[in-house]
Every structure is written in structure tokens, then in C-alpha cells.
């Protein structure tokens, strides 16, 4: 496989909370290969969101190194980070985070808009993306006219539109019922089989188990090969 797509070494992130220093991420190191389906599992307050923000290039590490596709994220400015987010990362959020005033198609077009893709090509690529998630005929609908599962699929289409290196899903099934959750998960598996690298962040073991590889995070520390360690943990 050659170079891993994500290489994180000794990542640190601390917050000051009421005079006390909290290590949200404490010496985290991980390598993620291209084409992997990785689940990061951890209870709330474990540092999972901080890790997601870090991996998603919304935040910069305080110390340590984060290489994404061989590029050092820690040394980039806000604008460069925006470009990286636009081109390398597809976000899938728990609350879908679609723009309610735009149609499904326009939502999917949005990352391409910021990438400067011309209108015609943008529309074609967004449609292609929508048909990948099976919502081609819903292109003209507003998010409020779609069910939760459909909204999440639009969000996945949006994440796919820019053809990013990784799909970063933060509790993608957290706001969905179990039947729709299964549909979304199987869609993500399909996408993984098509070659997309997927990072899934969740607190739900059943969902994490669907992934090819699982790591757990606890008190800001990442425990590689979560499978073995999770067995010893009472919460799961």
C-alpha cells in the first residue's frame, strides 16, 4: 500500500477548563491505510470529538505531527486547511448538517462550488453523487421534505461529491432509528468496498463492530486494536 493516508504521531491537545488542564488528546499515534474502514469508539468525554476535529482538519494539533496524504497539517494556515477540508475530507455529521434553504442537489453541489468547479460539471458530478446513494429522483427536494435516512444519504452524497481521500463520519446513525441505521451502515460498507477510506466515530459497539478495524479512545488515549482491550472494559 505504500504510504498510509493518515499518519498521526504523538498528538497532544489540552484545554484549560476552570483552571484545570484537561488532556483531550494525550500522545495519540495512529496510522490509517488507504481503503480502510476504521471505527473509533469511546464514551462521551473521551476525546473522540477532539480527535475527529483534528483528523477533519478543523483544528490544529498543539504538539505532535499529523500527516494527511503526506502533508503536514500542523503547519497550515486557516485558508490552506479550508482547501484541505474541501478536497481531502468528506464530513458526515450526526445531525446531517444540511443547509435547509438549499435543495438536495444544491447541498451536494456546495463543496464543488467552493472548489471552483464550473456550473455544468458541478451539476453533473452532484447528480452522479446523488445517484450513488440512490436519491437521484429527490434532487429537487428541500431537506425538510426528506426523511432522516434520506437526509443522511444526501449528506453522504455531499461528502462524496468532492471525491475526497477520506470520509469522516461522526455518529452518522445517532439521530436515526435502527432500521435506517442499518441502511446507512450498509451504504457505508458498500462505499468502502468501492475503495473509499472511511473513519467512523461512535460510542456504539454494535456499530463499531461493522468496521474492518476498531480502535478505542479513553481519557484522551488511543488504544490500538480496540478489539482485545474493549473486552476488559466494563462500559461495553
Amino acid at each position: 500500500m505504500g504510504q498510509p493516508i493518515i499518519q498521526i504521531t504523538n498528538l497532544m491537545k489540552t484545554y484549560k477548563l476552570g483552571g484545570e488542564t484537561v488532556h483531550a488528546l494525550n500522545n495519540v499515534s495512529i496510522k490509517i491505510e488507504k481503503g480502510e474502514f476504521l471505527a473509533i469508539i469511546g464514551p462521551s468525554g473521551s476525546g473522540k470529538s477532539t480527535l475527529m476535529n483534528m483528523v477533519g482538519c478543523l483544528d490544529r494539533p498543539q504538539s505532535g505531527k499529523y500527516l494527511l496524504d503526506g502533508k503536514d497539517i500542523g503547519k497550515m494556515n486557516d485558508n490552506q486547511l479550508a482547501v484541505i477540508r474541501n478536497q481531502k475530507i468528506g464530513f458526515i455529521f450526526q445531525n446531517f448538517n444540511l443547509l435547509t434553504k438549499l435543495t438536495a442537489l444544491e447541498n451536494v453541489e456546495l463543496p464543488l462550488l467552493y472548489a471552483g468547479v464550473p456550473a455544468k460539471e458541478r451539476k453533473a458530478r452532484a447528480m452522479e453523487s446523488l445517484s450513488k446513494v440512490g436519491l437521484k429522483e429527490r434532487a429537487g427536494h428541500l431537506p425538510t421534505q426528506l426523511s432522516g435516512g434520506q437526509q443522511q444519504r444526501v449528506a453522504i452524497a455531499r461528502a462524496l461529491a468532492g471525491n475526497p481521500s477520506i470520509l469522516l463520519a461522526d455518529e452518522p446513525t445517532g439521530a436515526l432509528d435502527s432500521k435506517t441505521s442499518k441502511e446507512i451502515l450498509s451504504l457505508m460498507k458498500e462505499l468502502n468496498e468501492l475503495g473509499h477510506t472511511i473513519i467512523l466515530i461512535t460510542h456504539d459497539l454494535a456499530i463499531a463492530k461493522q468496521a474492518g478495524r476498531m480502535v478505542s479512545i479513553q481519557d484522551g488515549q488511543l488504544l490500538e486494536n480496540g478489539g482485545e482491550l474493549i473486552g476488559n472494559m466494563a462500559i461495553y
Binding site: G56, L58, N79, A82, N86, F91, N97, L99, Y114, A115
Partner: protein, 388 residues
């Protein structure tokens, strides 16, 4: 992302909040239209005043005499008329007289003067003729009457060739003046013009009250005025308190500086309402930014740069103010036309005022849009995404 895309996006977001956008624009509409209406009225009245002054005669110098110790005789007037730059000269005796025609009596001002008066004071006859130099020589009892006097005494009849009684003496009406309207206490249509020699008898005085001089060209008027002053000083040493020489240009300059000040003041007051409109836009944009924090977070997460967000909000503000400005121009012109027809005001619309106030509204949009837009662009995407 291209500018065109940003404009489209801004229009969309304005569209999706119609009532709020309309109310925000209202500030700009009122501002721009009041600038246009007020400045147009001010400029209209300035034009009005200028044309009224020009009606009194062009390139006009006036010598006013006070008291009787200044004997402005025909010789002296001839001397003055030979000065360089003087085109025509017209001495005047004036007073008030009683006029009677059959049973209608009226008191009017009488002016005794020469033939040149018609040109010097830009006084045209509508019917008949003006007085001639021959009339003066033969002390003819003829009169040219103002249009108002004509209608008072004769009604709808043609006065030319008929007789009127001035102070008991019978005068033949030879002409009727075209109406000039009255302005600034001068002229008026209620007047009678008679030959100078006859006039002196009517007012029982040989004292010439005023001499009007017409200069050859506008830009020489200051020179001519100095010449006249010098000549008068030579004729009447040590009597400079008994006469004054005024230049019509001075009057015009004074009037135009007054009207300019008025225009500036009205424009300034209206400009303040533009500023207030701008503050309204800033207010709404700030509300909009905090309302759309989540949207900004989403846009940033999927790759919007600071510049993209800044432009989006800035363009929204500018579109609001620009569209408001355009509507304001239409409203201003409409309102101005309405006022001018309702109150018979002279309004003068100039494209420079319209373009100027429109550009000013755009500038206001930029100035008051920058702060909210900058605030939006600086939002931290992590916190913005978490915002509910």
C-alpha cells in the same frame, strides 16, 4: 468561488427572507429618495432664481441715486454711454401714479425712460410697440402698460390705441408688455412705462433715480463697473455717498451661493438618513450572522475559505443597499414629479445626483457590511458547528 456565484447566493438568501430584506431596504430607499427629492427641489429653485435674475436684464449694471444733489443730466448720461464696454444705457425716473380708465381706477408704478430700456431690462412688448426716442423729444403722451395693468383696466379688450387717464391727463396706450412675473420686489406686471420727458412731468421731478447700463459681454462686467465708478467719481467728486453702483453678477453670485448652501444642507440632511439606513443594514446583517452561525460552520467544514464567507455576507449587504438604492431612485423621481405637479415647484433632476446617491448607498453597504461579514468569516468552524 466566483463573484457571480456569490451574488446568486446572496440574492437567494435575500429572497428567502423577504419581509426582513424589504424592511432593511426601506432605510436605503428612504435615504436615497429623500436625497434625490430634496436636492432636486433645491436645484430647481436655484434654477428658478437664476432665470428670474436674468429676466431683469442680462449684463446689467445699476446706478442708484439718493437725494437730489446729484444732477444726472442728459450730457452726463451721454458721457457714460460712450464708455468702453457699455452697450446701452437707460435712465429712469419713477414714482407712483393714479390711473383711471372709465370707472376703473388703480394705483401703479410709473417708469419714465428711453427706448433702450426695452433691451437693457429685457422687457418685451406683447402687443403694439415700445416708446421711441422721438416720443421723448416731442414729450408724447403715450404709455406702454404692463400685462396686469392691462387686464385690470381693459379686461379682455385690446388696450392698444385706447386712452387712459394718468393723474388726470389723457395718455394713449401704444403697447402692452409681455408678462414677466414678479420676483424679489422688482418689476412686476403692474406698471406703466412712459417717455422719460413725460415721466418727469408726471412725477413732478427731474431727478433721475436710476440708470441702467448694459455691458457688452458677461466677462467684462467687473471692468465696466470700475469704469463707471471712475467716471462717476470724476463727474461728482466727494459725492460718492449719493449714489451706488451694483452689478447684477454680484446679485447672481450671492444668490447662487445661497442656493448652493441650501442644496448642500438639504443633501446633507438626507445623507444622514442614508447613514441611518446603513446602520439598519449592519444591524440586520449582525442578526443574520448569529442566526446563521450553524450554516457558516457547515460551509467552513466543507471547505469555504474566510474570503468565501466574507464575500457572501458582504455581497448580501451590498445587494441589499444597492437594490434599496435603485428603488430609492425610482421612488425619489416619482415623488419629486408628484410634488412638482402638486405644489407647482420647479424640480430639476440631475443624473449626477442620482448616480451619486446610488454609489453612496453602495459605499454605505460596503462600509456597514464589512463588520458583520468579517465577524462571520472569523467564526471558528468547530464552535459554529456546535451552535444550535
Amino acid at each position: 468561488m466566483g463573484i457571480w456565484q456569490s451574488i446568486k447566493m446572496a440574492l437567494r438568501s435575500i429572497q428567502s427572507n423577504k419581509l426582513r430584506s424589504a424592511l432593511t431596504m426601506l432605510g436605503m430607499i428612504i435615504g436615497v429618495s429623500s436625497v434625490i427629492v430634496l436636492v432636486s427641489i433645491a436645484q430647481g429653485s436655484a434654477q428658478n432664481v437664476t432665470s428670474r435674475i436674468n429676466q431683469l436684464g442680462t449684463n446689467l449694471l445699476t446706478i442708484n441715486t439718493f437725494g437730489t444733489d446729484l444732477a444726472l443730466t442728459e450730457d452726463k448720461i451721454n458721457e457714460l454711454s460712450k464708455l468702453n464696454g457699455v452697450k446701452a444705457i437707460s435712465p429712469v425716473v419713477s414714482g407712483r401714479v393714479n390711473v383711471k380708465k372709465d370707472k376703473t381706477a388703480s394705483q401703479v408704478s410709473v417708469t419714465g425712460t428711453n427706448a433702450a430700456y426695452s433691451d437693457v431690462r429685457d422687457t418685451k412688448v406683447k402687443q403694439g410697440r415700445f416708446i421711441t426716442d422721438l416720443d421723448i423729444e416731442y414729450r408724447q403722451k403715450i404709455a406702454v402698460i404692463g400685462s396686469e395693468t392691462a387686464s385690470t383696466l381693459f379686461g379682455a379688450e385690446n388696450p392698444v390705441g385706447q386712452y387712459i387717464q394718468i393723474e388726470g391727463t389723457s395718455f394713449k396706450v401704444v403697447g402692452v408688455l409681455a408678462s414677466k412675473g414678479s420676483s424679489m420686489g422688482q418689476g412686476g406686471d403692474n406698471t406703466i412705462i412712459v417717455p422719460l420727458s413725460t415721466g418727469q412731468r408726471l412725477v413732478k421731478s427731474t431727478t433721475i433715480n436710476q440708470v441702467y447700463l448694459q455691458g457688452k459681454s458677461e466677462d467684462q462686467m467687473d471692468v465696466v463697473m470700475n469704469e463707471v465708478k471712475l467716471a462717476l467719481a470724476g463727474m461728482y467728486p466727494n459725492k460718492s455717498d449719493s449714489y451706488s453702483v451694483t452689478n447684477q453678477k454680484d446679485l447672481m453670485d450671492t444668490m447662487s451661493s445661497v442656493t448652493n448652501t441650501m442644496t448642500m444642507m438639504l443633501g446633507g440632511i438626507a445623507g444622514i438618513s442614508l447613514l441611518v439606513g446603513g446602520i439598519g443594514i449592519m444591524n440586520i446583517m449582525l442578526v443574520s450572522v448569529s442566526e446563521r452561525t450553524k450554516e457558516i460552520g457547515i460551509r467552513k467544514a466543507i471547505g469555504a475559505k474566510r474570503r468565501d464567507v466574507l464575500l457572501q455576507f458582504l455581497i448580501e449587504a451590498v445587494v441589499l443597499s444597492g437594490v434599496g438604492g435603485l428603488i430609492g431612485i425610482l421612488a425619489g423621481v416619482g415623488l419629486g414629479k408628484m410634488l412638482s405637479s402638486l405644489f407647482s415647484l420647479t424640480v430639476s433632476f440631475t443624473s449626477s445626483v442620482m448616480i451619486g446617491s446610488f454609489l453612496f448607498s453602495l459605499v454605505v453597504g460596503v462600509i456597514f457590511g464589512v463588520f458583520p461579514a468579517n465577524k462571520a468569516s472569523k467564526l471558528n468552524p468547530i464552535q459554529a458547528l456546535r451552535y444550535e
